[in-house]
C-alpha cells in the first residue's frame, strides 16, 4: 500500500521535472484558449470602432450639408455613385494624413508632443472593452460572453477611463509651447473635470436602479417587460439621468455646443493647433471615437443595449402569444446588429445636436455644469435612493 503510493508519488515527480504534468498542461492550454478568444473578440470591436469613426466623418459632412441646405462633399463619385465620399473618408483621408509632414514646433517638448495624441486616443478606445455587444454565443459546447472584458466594476472602469481622457488635452496643449494651445487645454481640463461629476452622479443613480456595476448585468435586466409588453429599458425608469448623462457625455467629447477647448473662431484649433499629419489624425479620430463611446454607453445603460424587444435566447416571444424559434447563432447575430443600429442612431443624433446648436460661452458652460447638472444629478440620486428603498421595504 505504502510502496504503491510512494511509487505513484515518484511518477508524479518525474513528470513534473519533465515539465509535462497533465494538470499544468491543461491549465496552460486553457489559459491560451481564453486569451485567444479574448483577442478574437477584441479585434472586430476595434475594427468596428475605427470604421465607424470613418463613416461618421462622412455622415457629419453630408449631414451638416443637409442641415445647412448645401450639397456637401460631392467631389468624390466613382462611376456616378455619389456615396463614394464614404470611400474617401475611410481610405483616402487617412492615407493623406499619413503621408503629410509631421511638424513639431520649435522649443516644444518633443516627447510629450508625440505622446499626447496616443494618450488622448488610448483611454477612449479601451472603454469599449467593457461594453457588451451581445448576450452569449454558443460555439462547440463553449459559451462565449459577447463582451471583451467581463468586469464586475464595469461602470467604475468607464468612469476611470473617462477621467484619464483629459490628459491628452492637457499634454497636447502644454507640449506645443503655443498660447492658443495652452488656452485650449486649460479650458478643456476645467470643462472635463467639471462634467465628470455630473456624469458620475447620473451613473450612480443608474447603478442604484439596476443594483449592479456590471454593464452586461444592466443590459440583461433591461430584457424584462413592464406589464407584459413594454421593454423595461433604463430611460423609462430614469429619464432625468438619461438627459444628464447625454449632456455630460457631449461635454466630455468636447463637441459643439461644448467645443470651447478647440473653438475655431477664437483659438485656431485649440489644444491641437500645432499638430499635423498622423498626430492630427489621432486627435481627429479621438473626437469620433468619443462620439461612438457616448452612443454605446447611452445605448447600453438607457436603451437596452443589445436587447431586441421580445427576443429571448431561443427566439422571439411576442406578447400576443405568437413565438418564433431561432437557432442560437442567429439570435446572437440579431443582438449584435441591434446593438450596432442603436449605436449608429445615437451617433447620428449627436451629429444632429452638433449642427443645430451654437457654441456656449465659457461662463455658461461652467454655470451649466456646476449650477445646473450637479444639483439636478444630486437630487436625482436622492430621489432614486428613496424610491429603491420604498420598493425594497
Amino acid at each position: 500500500m505504502q510502496s504503491r503510493s510512494e511509487q505513484h508519488h515518484g511518477e508524479r515527480d518525474t513528470e513534473q521535472t519533465l515539465g509535462a504534468s497533465p494538470a499544468v498542461k491543461r491549465r496552460v492550454v486553457r489559459m491560451w484558449t481564453e486569451a485567444g478568444i479574448a483577442a478574437i473578440k477584441a479585434l472586430p470591436v476595434i475594427l468596428m470602432v475605427f470604421s465607424l469613426a470613418g463613416i461618421l466623418g462622412w455622415v457629419e459632412r453630408k449631414g451638416s450639408a443637409l442641415i445647412q441646405d448645401r450639397i456637401g462633399a460631392n467631389r468624390a463619385s466613382i462611376f456616378g455613385f455619389a456615396g463614394a465620399g464614404l470611400v474617401n473618408t475611410l481610405f483616402a483621408d487617412p492615407l493623406k494624413f499619413l503621408t503629410k509632414e509631421d511638424i513639431i514646433p520649435l522649443r516644444a517638448d518633443r516627447l510629450l508632443h508625440t505622446l499626447a495624441p496616443c494618450v488622448s486616443l488610448f483611454p477612449v478606445l479601451v472603454t469599449f472593452a467593457v461594453i457588451p455587444f451581445g448576450d452569449v454565443l454558443q460555439v462547440g459546447g463553449r459559451t462565449i460572453n459577447l463582451q471583451v472584458a467581463p468586469l464586475g466594476i464595469g461602470v467604475l472602469y468607464v468612469l476611470a477611463m473617462a477621467s484619464l481622457a483629459v490628459y491628452g488635452v492637457v499634454l497636447g496643449g502644454w507640449a506645443s509651447n503655443d498660447r492658443f494651445s495652452l488656452m485650449g487645454s486649460i479650458r478643456g481640463s476645467a470643462q472635463m473635470v467639471s462634467y465628470e461629476i455630473g456624469m458620475g452622479l447620473s451613473l450612480v443613480s443608474m447603478v442604484m436602479t439596476y443594483g449592479s456595476l456590471d454593464l452586461q448585468e444592466m443590459v440583461r435586466a433591461q430584457g424584462a417587460l413592464i406589464g407584459g409588453w413594454i421593454p423595461a429599458w433604463g430611460i423609462l425608469y430614469q429619464p432625468v439621468a438619461f438627459l444628464l448623462f447625454l449632456c455630460a457625455g457631449i461635454a466630455e467629447s468636447k463637441r459643439v455646443p461644448f467645443d470651447l477647448p478647440e473653438a475655431e473662431s477664437e483659438l485656431v484649433s485649440g489644444y491641437f493647433t500645432e499638430y499635423s499629419g498622423i498626430k492630427h489624425l489621432m486627435f481627429f479620430m479621438t473626437d469620433f471615437v468619443e462620439v461612438t463611446v457616448v452612443a454605446a454607453l447611452v445605448t447600453t445603460i438607457f436603451f437596452g443595449g443589445w436587447q431586441l424587444p421580445y427576443l429571448g435566447r431561443d427566439g422571439f416571444h411576442f406578447p400576443w402569444g405568437a413565438s418564433l424559434m431561432l437557432p442560437q447563432v442567429i439570435v446572437a447575430v440579431l443582438q449584435v446588429l441591434t446593438f450596432m443600429a442603436k449605436v449608429f442612431f445615437f451617433c447620428c443624433f449627436q451629429i444632429l445636436i452638433r449642427w443645430s446648436l451654437p457654441r456656449f460661452r465659457y461662463d455658461q458652460v461652467m454655470r451649466l455644469g456646476w449650477k445646473g447638472l450637479l444639483p439636478i444629478a444630486l437630487l436625482n440620486v436622492l430621489a432614486t435612493a428613496v424610491i429603491v428603498l420604498a420598493f425594497q421595504g
Binding site: 489559459m31 517638448d109 510629450l112 468586469l151 464586475g152 466594476i153 467604475l156 472602469y157 468612469l159 476611470a160 473617462a162 477621467s163 484619464l164 483629459v166 490628459y167 492637457v170 499634454l171 496643449g173 502644454w174 495652452l182 487645454s185 486649460i186 481640463s189 476645467a190 472635463m192 473635470v193 465628470e196 458620475g200 456595476l213
Partner: protein
C-alpha cells in the same frame, strides 16, 4: 504568469516613482506621478482589489493630478526655479525620507513572521469585490466612514468660504 507580470509592473512603478523626483521639469514630474498612481492601481488588481484599483484611477490619477497639472500650467512654473534651496529644508527632507526607508526595511524583514501566516492564506470568495467591501464599510466601519464624509464636507465648505472672502 502572475509573478512575471507583477515584477514587470513593479519595476515600471519604481522607475516612474523615481521619475517624479529625478525630473527637473515640474510638468514631467507631475506626469510621472500620474503614471505611478496608475501603475499602483494595476498592483491593486494583483491583490484582487478591483474596486480600490478603479477608485485609485478615478480619484488620484484622474481628478487630483489633473488639478496639480492645471495649477502648474496656470502658474507656468519654470524648470530653473529651484524650490528647495535652503540647506535646512534639504536636510529635513533627507531625515524624513530616511525614516520612511528604515520603516519600510523593518517591515520587509519582520512582517511575514509577525503576520502569523496572514500573508500566505487563501483569500475568501468574493474578496475585494464591491459587495464585500460595501458590506464591511456600512456595518463594521459605519461610524468612521460617516465621520470621514463629514470631515470632507467641512473641508469643502471651508474652501468655499476662504475663496469667497478673497473675492470680496
Amino acid at each position: 504568469m502572475g509573478p512575471i507580470l507583477f515584477c514587470v509592473f513593479a519595476v515600471l512603478l519604481i522607475s516612474s516613482a523615481l521619475g517624479v523626483i529625478v525630473n527637473r521639469s515640474p510638468v514631467r514630474s507631475a506626469l510621472s506621478l500620474v503614471v505611478t498612481l496608475f501603475l499602483l492601481a494595476v498592483i491593486f488588481l494583483f491583490l484582487d482589489a478591483q474596486l480600490v484599483a478603479a477608485l485609485q484611477v478615478v480619484v488620484y490619477a484622474g481628478a487630483i493630478m489633473v488639478l496639480f497639472l492645471f495649477v502648474i500650467m496656470l502658474l507656468n512654473v519654470q524648470e530653473d526655479r529651484q524650490i528647495m534651496t535652503r540647506l535646512g529644508m534639504r536636510a529635513g527632507a533627507a531625515i524624513i525620507g530616511a525614516l520612511f526607508l528604515l520603516g519600510a526595511i523593518r517591515l520587509l524583514i519582520h512582517a511575514p513572521s509577525a503576520a502569523g501566516g496572514g500573508m500566505t492564506g487563501a483569500t475568501p470568495a468574493g474578496f475585494g469585490s464591491t459587495e464585500r467591501l460595501a458590506e464591511v464599510l456600512f456595518t463594521r466601519y459605519l461610524l468612521p466612514f460617516e465621520v470621514t464624509s463629514v470631515l470632507l464636507l467641512v473641508a469643502i465648505i471651508g474652501a468655499v468660504v476662504l475663496a469667497k472672502r478673497s473675492l470680496e
